[in-house]
Symmetry: C2
Subunit: 289 residues, 2 copies
């Protein structure tokens, strides 16, 4: 599936350079680029593109994360001291900025945000409690005290269209903007396949039994670092038993209602998820199929 | 796809009980079951099934993890003090035991092993370095010092059959038993979709460019806690450039060679991955398709 936001970066991740501190060091010259961030949000130039500086712009006490190569030039992001321990949630201005950013900029920004946020919130060894140090160009943190190696976290999440009789089951989380409905979703737990996680989540959140779970598309989601695994499943019936601790509401929508919501506008049965969410692409896929 | 090991547990994870310490407490009576472990390995009864005891068998200083309900009975596993900080790798006896265990036992054991191992190696808050405490029946750890909540880790890994001209590209990791070849695999990184991770890993490990990446099946893998995402992709050509830091060898195998290896026996072109590995099921799927 094309057009999925936060995927499709042109950056070459060049993992061989991560393992070679001497070669990486030689790339950290005046040509290297530093991605400018405003906290964890993107800093945008006057054309709405990502703003880049040089390594001279970094706070000398920052850690630097190697994002990859754009052509010959090494790209970095900065784990600035002011971000350490920060847990600031995404804000409304960020969502507006995402809506205007270019596809490739979104992908570079998403990976950078996930990595910088991980370093900011993972300063200590979970095994022994001592301070850790960045290594492998920022793709690892090492504990000198107990020898543990820690890797950036990616949390797999299933997100699923549940279908019955040409209708879709969508839900509202309390934090959603008014009238927004989207696909049900939930984290994959230890000991579950993707298909089991889909069945468990739909039953837990909506009381619906599903079968014929199929994969549709995936998306990296940088708030903070999920792998969204988009699926489709058929419901046994339409009776709902909504878990109000998870969802404010869950409802079945007809194909016409979904089509109208996806055309935008405010007067449909609901407001669809925005194009940077994989749920938007799942709905588009379902309508076109 | 049916028959995938470590999936298919009959346990009801009952997440509503995790959030309700009072109700969970009432289930922790003489009827509750304790999964016996030998270190992190399964303790098996005389029939080769998982061995269960009662909560009275647990070390009083152990933490208890709620695995779920089997019928009316709550099932737990024990994070024993001797496991704390342990990083013992799986041993050959474990692989032999897995080969004889029932499908449902494997699934219960896999989830338990991942959870117990996570608690044993995540005693401290990665954000502030202070000690954390088990909460939500063992599906969370809380830091009283900074308020951070930590969740059991699940690391998504892509594992892929790469095809060209009715041949498959398989690789050998240095740690494999002699003559074993299996599907290439690698961790999904922050900022990547499943499809991007497949393309990057195959290019990094074998120098092969792939297209038409498709999802096939998934599997939870409890060593320590991966979500294996099985895929298929078409290679542009057969020229290889193998990364020797990752793979000892990579080779193309014909359909006949794959079929012969999957029939078992020692005289084929290679030895196929065992039935508890998702790669085994991917090869079977490819042969039958």
């Amino acid at each position: 599936m094309s057009g999925i936001a936060f995927a499709g970066a042109r950056l070459n991740r060049a993992d061989d350079l991560r393992r070679d501190p001497a070669r990486l060091e030689t790339l950290m010259d005046w040509r290297a680029r530093l991605l400018k961030l405003d906290g964890l949000d993107p800093a945008l130039d006057r054309d709405g593109g990502l703003e880049w500086g040089t390594l001279a712009d970094a706070d000398p006490s920052s850690e630097l994360v190697f994002l990859g190569l754009l052509g010959e030039r090494a790209c970095f992001a900065e784990v600035a001291p002011r971000l350490i321990g920060s847990v600031a949630p995404p804000n409304p201005a960020l969502w507006r900025a995402l809506a205007t950013m270019e596809h490739e900029d979104l992908a570079i920004y998403g990976a950078a945000r996930s990595l910088v946020d991980w370093h900011a919130r993972h300063r200590f060894c979970a095994r022994c409690g001592q301070a850790t140090k960045l290594s492998k160009g920022g793709w690892q943190r090492d504990c000198a005290s107990c020898g543990a190696e820690h890797f950036p976290r990616v949390d797999p999440v299933t997100i699923m269209l549940v279908e019955h009789d040409d209708m879709l089951l969508l839900g509202r989380q309390p934090r959603f903007p008014p009238r927004r409905f989207s696909a049900l979703a939930g984290f994959v737990e230890p000991g579950e396949s993707v298909e089991e996680a889909v069945r468990r989540e739909v039953f837990e959140e909506a009381g619906v039994v599903v079968r014929e779970v199929g994969y549709v598309a995936s998306q990296p989601w940088p708030f903070p670092s999920q792998l969204m695994i988009g699926c489709h499943a058929m419901a046994e019936d339409t009776a709902l038993n909504v878990d109000r601790t998870e969802l404010e509401e869950a409802r079945w929508f007809s194909r016409d209602e979904v089509a109208q919501a996806m055309q935008g506008g405010e007067d449909g049965a609901f407001i669809a998820p925005p194009p940077h969410a994989v749920a938007h692409h799942l709905l588009k896929w379902w309508l076109e199929r």
